[in-house]
């Protein structure tokens, strides 16, 4: 029988013992209890759905926008997810790599927030108010039209051409916006008025 620790030999063991006890102080036995299995909470719960169509190519896939907040209730709506609309006859809920990432197009860091103005020769854009921008643009256009408008040709036939200002129309605006734009451009006599169709 040899496990008879005399006081002296116990002290000799102290070194090792100390280690053990100080480890105990580190929280021995308090190993964290494992979290029970769970899947991520469904992130679309309590969001608002809005039917829309993809703005990219001409397949015009149906999409559903999921937002926190409801515009129809006059709330501000923050878009948290966009996904294909399974009820849509063409895409049946599918989307391409562009469409599937629409949320990050809407939320891209380079989305424009404010009207900006670049002075001639300047190396930067500066904030400008909408009112000032509209006043200035309208004035520039009016003055140029009055200065360069071609009312009639040599034969005296009224031709009503304004060739010194041109306009490109968007290719992703709605038909309604396009109609308003059309009325604007054609009534001013802008003949250099075209769109992406040709390109």
């Amino acid at each position: 029988m040899n496990v008879d620790l005399s006081r002296r030999s116990f002290l000799k063991l102290a070194g090792a013992g100390a280690a053990a006890t100080s480890l105990g102080a580190m929280g021995f036995g308090e190993a964290e209890a494992a979290v029970i299995a769970h899947v991520r909470p469904h992130k679309l719960t309590k969001t608002t759905e809005t039917r829309n169509t993809c703005p990219y190519c001409s397949v015009a896939c149906g999409v559903i926008i999921y937002s926190k907040g409801d515009l129809r209730k006059g709330e501000t709506a923050d878009i948290i997810h966009i996904e294909g609309d399974a009820d849509h006859p063409t895409n049946r809920g599918t989307l391409c790599p562009k469409g599937a990432a629409l949320k990050d197009f809407v939320k891209s860091p380079t989305r424009l927030q404010y009207p900006m103005h670049r002075k001639p020769g300047s190396d930067r854009f500066e904030r400008i108010s909408w009112e000032d921008a509209f006043d200035r643009i309208a004035r520039l256009m009016k003055d140029d039209r009055d200065a360069n408008f071609v009312a009639a040709n040599a034969a005296g036939v009224p031709v009503n051409r304004w060739t010194t200002v041109g306009m490109l129309a968007a290719s992703a605006t709605t038909n309604e916006t396009a109609w308003a734009t059309f009325k604007f451009a054609k009534s001013l006599g802008i003949v250099g008025f075209d769109n992406q169709a040709r390109v």
């Binding site: 829309n52 190519c57 989305r111 900006m116 006043d135 309208a138 256009m141 709605t174 009325k183």
Partner: protein, 813 residues
């Protein structure tokens, strides 16, 4: 598209040529894989590159870019030589039997009447022989040497498989395999669909590429039937809509055309547009032109458009040139003749060819306004970004306004898809910062100008002061108000033509559709082909009934398709002369003895007898045109033309360069490269991971395809010792770009006219703003020349040189 996306599932053979549907329109391409999986349909891809569409094809054949006409003419010849023609269809529904004037001919790659000085044809001989009755003389037996059919056969004679291989570089056996597969679709019970896009349009002979396939489809009897048709896959979500609504220099809404200086008054204008039938009893629907035009003028100027002022005809501009298309405008800008420019959701700095010229042109502007949701390169064209935008900022005196607009998610309204569906969508998010709707911005500028003209007067203010702008809130017209204007309404009570006592439409009510339009000023309609989109039944564009009786893919209850909710154009041609469907299993319409019935809205008067009235009611002939008379500038038949920058000479006429009638500006002539200096055939394209210059602003898409690259064959890489993933410099007569090299088996050199032609592929998605790595694109290299008929730039075929290089440099700021 003559048909719809969902109709593609009905096809037996899909030919993707001049496009890359799987990459550019993946969710539409779904219907190709559907047809393959459920009908055992086959897919053929003909392309200079083995694309992702080719990766799921049943047969792939390579072709040199810009030689599609030769290939398609070869296929037509093969079909005719091998009796693979849907004779009954072709004889009855095309102008094959029509006699052509004696003067017409073709020699050395040119048709009769060419004037090298004017770079134009005298087209007087390109027409039919008319009888005393004013109708075209025909030979239904197709025996007469001067009938269209025999002239066509003669025209196609040179396009043998050997000639096709010589021009296109497509190995004879591969060409024959494709021709054989296509020819099978001449059976009335087999049909083929053509899916094409900018791979055909972006050529100096783009319109003729499409004509060639359209003619082939007519010979095979595939137009107007389920699973057939000519399907142009439009690039942008509403480019179809903007074209339909006439936001183009030469157009008004609904394909009404802008007056030219020749149209001195309304009567003269109408005289060249109200086409009379060229065959007895034919519809020639454009006889209604005046109704549409007057109603349009009323929509524009309301009470100010009166019969005594030619319905305000003089408010419209009159063109002195065919069109002030974008190339012409930038040419003028380059010459310092344009002072101001407005870019609404458009990025011309990257979108138009010859970037260096674009930059100089924009720098000549006094002011530029951009309206966009994103921070575009065009808005910052003046900002120095080293090799990515090497400009001298201080010397650019252009004043720039960058106006933030909303995007699709924050606005309401309709978009017209490639299948002509007008689909309404709703706003789902709050616009960021101070972003505004385009309509608000347009209204604000317009109302300010109007006020100035009221107070100060000025140059011809009438069209501005009289423009109808009667919206509840003039500062921001609502989408509904505008949509109703497009549909049109009765201005006075409209009496029923059948019963003059009965009011058909009460004053102020929305008209049902364009069939109710009048030319006496009693109706207004913004865009006749859209009429029916928002009538008294409500907003038909917002309909969401996705039922599809008998799974035809028509979905008549879903949204609204122009015209008149018709889903397949020329659908009467799906039935024979007795009105029975060519293929009972693919019935669209059927004549029940008194009227047309079926799954779609008939593209003909419902009571028009099948054996009397032709299916192509928009044509004076009532038939489709294998011979297009003088309606196309570069010939009534498609003839092989080389690109302006080609590695080989035109085998029909070595001296002929590009399209003989394409417009070439003097400043650009000097900037055309030759194959000795620039030996490689470049082409540009989109990648499925990106959408133009938008998605490089998106972190997700930027991660999927982060950096600008060019694709070359292993053979060329070895020749130039270019390593995969290494930097290369690619340059043309107009500019130079640096890019990563992707060396691939998917591009192989082609043997054309005895010499190997190396293809260099250049995708177009990079710029100097956004999340992706900065890069350049094909527009730094492409030539400033367009298609002879519509001026679409020749982006798909030009010459470059290439060498190993080093990384481009950022701006040192």
């Amino acid at each position: 598209m003559t048909n719809s996306w969902t109709d593609i599932k009905n096809t037996d053979l899909v030919v993707v040529m001049g496009g890359n549907a799987a990459e550019a329109h993946p969710c539409g391409f779904k219907w190709v894989t559907e047809a393959k999986a459920t009908r055992g349909a086959k897919l053929i891809v003909v392309d200079p590159r083995y694309t992702r569409t080719a990766s799921v094809s049943d047969y792939y054949a390579p072709i040199r870019q810009g030689t599609d006409i030769a290939f398609l003419n070869g296929v037509m010849k093969y079909c005719i030589d091998n009796d693979k023609v849907q004779w009954e269809y072709m004889k009855a529904f095309t102008n094959a039997s029509y006699m052509v004037k004696d003067g017409f001919g073709y020699q050395d790659g040119l048709f009769t009447g060419y004037d090298a000085e004017k770079r134009d044809y005298d087209k007087s001989t390109w027409d039919y022989v008319l009888g005393d009755d004013g109708f075209v003389v025909t030979d239904p037996t197709l025996q007469h040497p001067r009938c269209v059919w025999n002239l066509l056969k003669a025209h196609l004679a040179p396009y043998t498989p050997e000639m096709v291989e010589r021009i296109c570089g497509t190995p004879k056996d591969k060409f024959l395999k494709v021709a054989e597969m296509i020819s099978e679709c001449s059976s009335p019970t087999k049909t083929m669909t053509s899916m094409y896009a900018l791979g055909w349009t972006q050529h100096s002979s783009g319109s003729q590429n499409i004509r060639a396939m359209a003619m082939l489809q007519l010979i095979l009897g595939n137009i107007g039937v389920r699973g057939g048709g000519m399907n142009a896959l439009r690039g942008h979500s509403n480019i179809q809509g903007l074209t339909d609504l006439g936001l183009m220099s030469h157009l008004l809404t609904g394909y009404l055309t802008m007056p030219t200086e020749k149209d001195v008054d309304f009567t003269t204008y109408m005289s060249t547009r109200q086409f009379k039938p060229l065959r007895p009893g034919q519809t020639s629907y454009w006889q209604n032109y005046r109704k549409f035009m007057v109603s349009f003028q009323k929509a524009m100027w309301g009470d100010a458009a009166r019969i005594d002022n030619d319905w305000g005809f003089n408010y419209l501009s009159k063109l002195d040139v065919p069109a002030y298309d974008v190339l012409r405008v930038f040419e003028l800008m380059y010459a310092g003749k344009v002072n101001g420019y407005i870019c609404q959701g458009f990025n011309p700095l990257l979108a138009f060819p010859n970037r260096d010229k674009n930059t100089k042109a924009l720098s000549n502007l006094k002011w530029l306004v951009t309206m966009d949701p994103l921070d575009t390169e065009t808005a910052r064209f003046w900002e120095n970004h080293g090799d990515f935008n090497p400009v001298d900022t201080a010397s650019i005196q252009t004043e720039v306004f960058q106006l933030p607009t909303t995007c699709f998610a924050e606005e309401e309204g309709s978009l017209t898809n490639s299948g002509r569906w007008l689909q309404w969508h709703w706003a789902g998010g709050t616009p960021p910062g101070e972003a505004k709707h385009d309509t608000y911005i347009i209204a604000q500028i317009f109302l300010r100008m109007k006020e100035m003209y009221q107070n100060e007067g000025g140059a011809f203010p009438d069209p501005i002061l009289n423009l109808s702008w009667d919206y509840a809130d003039p500062n921001e017209p609502t989408p509904e108000e505008l949509a109703k204007e497009i549909n049109g309404r009765a201005l006075t009570d409209l009496m029923d033509p059948a019963d003059p006592m009965k009011v058909q439409v009460a004053a102020g009510k929305q008209i049902l559709n364009f069939s109710q339009l009048r030319d006496d000023g009693s109706t207004m309609c913004g865009c006749w082909i859209y009429s029916g989109n928002f009538n008294e039944q409500g907003n038909n564009m917002a309909r969401r009934d996705n039922n599809d009786p008998d799974d035809t893919g028509a979905y008549l209850g879903w949204s609204f398709a122009w015209p008149l909710n018709r889903r397949t154009l020329y659908n009467r041609a799906s039935a024979d002369l007795q009105g029975k469907p060519w293929d009972p299993s693919r019935k669209l319409l059927e004549w029940d003895g008194t009227k047309w019935t079926g799954y779609d809205v008939p593209d003909i008067a419902p009571t028009a007898k099948p054996d009397e009235i032709g299916p192509f009611i928009m044509n004076q002939e009532g038939t489709a045109r294998l011979f297009s008379r003088g309606l196309m500038r570069d010939g009534p038949f498609p003839a092989h033309m080389e690109p302006f920058e080609s590695p080989v000479a035109n085998v029909f006429n070595p001296k002929m360069r590009g399209n003989p009638v394409s417009r070439v500006f003097q400043t650009d002539v000097a900037q055309m490269g030759l194959s000795d200096e620039f030996p490689y055939a470049a082409t540009s394209y989109r990648l499925t991971e990106h959408f133009h210059y938008w998605t490089k602003h998106n972190r997700v898409n930027s991660a999927l395809q982060p950096e600008f690259f060019v694709e070359i064959s292993e053979e060329l890489a070895e020749e130039k010792n270019i390593e995969n993933g290494g930097w290369v410099r690619v340059w043309s007569k107009r500019g130079s770009v640096k890019a990563k090299a992707v060396v691939t088996k998917r591009i192989r050199p082609l043997m054309c006219d005895g010499k190997p032609v190396h293809v260099v592929g250049i995708p177009l998605h990079w710029g100097f703003t956004g999340s992706a790595k900065k890069g350049l694109g094909p527009n730094s290299l492409a030539p400033f020349v367009g298609d002879a008929n519509i001026e679409t730039p020749e982006y798909k075929a030009f010459l470059v040189n290439i060498e190993p290089s080093t990384a481009p440099e950022e701006a040192t700021v």
